[in-house]
């Protein structure tokens, strides 16, 4: 099986209130070295074995069409053997 590991983050420059809250919590615990936190999403899509480049194209398409909102989000993914 192949697993696409998809990472979705808010675009650079888009305010991330969740990340800001988490950063505040880390600082209050004494982790002052943390300069910034961005909270994103992680998804695993599982496929039967198949043509890797075809699956890559499909995952790209899925990310563009539904998994992300391209106005505010970026994504990357990797495909690994499951």
């Amino acid at each position: 099986m192949l697993i696409a590991k998809v990472y979705i983050t808010l675009k650079k420059g888009i305010l991330d209130p969740q990340g800001k809250a988490v950063k505040g919590a880390l600082h209050s615990l004494g982790y002052e070295e943390v300069k910034d936190v961005r909270v994103g999403k992680y998804m695993e899509l599982t496929f039967e074995d198949g043509d890797l480049s075809l699956i890559k194209d499909k995952v790209d398409e899925m990310c563009e069409r539904i998994l992300t909102n391209p106005i505010i989000e970026d994504y990357t993914f990797e495909i690994v053997e499951g």
Binding site: L10, I14, L15, P17, Q18, A21, I66, L67, N69, I71, I72
Partner: protein, 224 residues
């Protein structure tokens, strides 16, 4: 004239919309399940608030692929009036029928209260009972109402007078306090505040009728 209130799994302001039309406007109204593929018999389409599909993935992201959304797009192209309120606004942006996106509120809190809204454009079919600069009170109830557009799109919105409502004060972090926008053609409105919760003295507020009533005043059979 006949209104349709689209019901998605997880809609929860559909009943408010229904009664705002039935009792507030005294016009015909029907619920339409999200599997419906033809909306041609309706004159106005309302996308209500709520949490369609549990807001999974992103607010409105899954609802926009419901069969009914293709029909909404068709009627929008014909020029019929479409109003998306709260979650309905989120669905319209996800569907690309309106520009921008709605992010989590700046303060991360779900905000449920009545706020002052400033009318920015009184020339739309949804705002002719209002005056530019007029202040009205409407309830808001959202966790993701923080409107975002990039600078280029913001400039276009301004050039085309597409910003219809602004919050008087910064409520949720929205770019330029935008609370509602309209499409370029001028027949699809999206707004976070809830006019359908303010249609009767019994509810303590009738300001929503300015907006819903404008739709009736400007109705043109078959679309604009």
């Amino acid at each position: 004239m006949k209104f349709a209130v689209i019901v998605f799994p997880g809609s929860n302001c559909d009943v408010d919309c229904y009664y705002a039309v039935k009792d507030g406007l005294v016009e015909e109204v029907e619920y339409v399940w999200h599997q419906e593929k033809n909306l041609s018999k309706y004159d106005v389409i309302m996308l209500p608030g709520g949490f369609s599909y549990g807001d999974y993935l992103r607010a409105g992201a899954i609802a926009r692929f419901s069969p009914v959304m293709e029909a909404v797009r068709e009627e929008a192209e014909k020029g019929k009036f479409i109003i998306g309120i709260c979650n309905g606004f989120q669905i319209l942006t996800e569907a690309g029928l309106l520009p921008g996106a709605l992010r989590k509120n700046e303060g991360l809190k779900f905000i449920c209260k009545t706020v002052s809204i400033i009318v920015e454009n009184d020339k739309t079919p949804f705002t002719t009972r209002l005056k530019k600069g007029q202040e009205i009170l409407l309830p808001i109830a959202h966790g993701e109402g923080n409107y975002y557009v990039d600078d280029k799109t913001l400039k276009e919105l301004k050039e085309n007078n597409q910003i219809v409502f602004r919050y008087k004060e910064n409520i949720n972090g929205s770019v330029e306090r935008i609370a509602g926008v309209i499409n370029k053609k001028g027949n699809v409105l999206g707004m976070m505040p809830h006019p359908e919760r303010a249609y009767a003295p019994l509810l303590g507020n009738t300001d929503g009728l300015y907006i819903l009533g404008s739709i009736v005043d400007n109705f043109v059979k078959g679309g604009v």
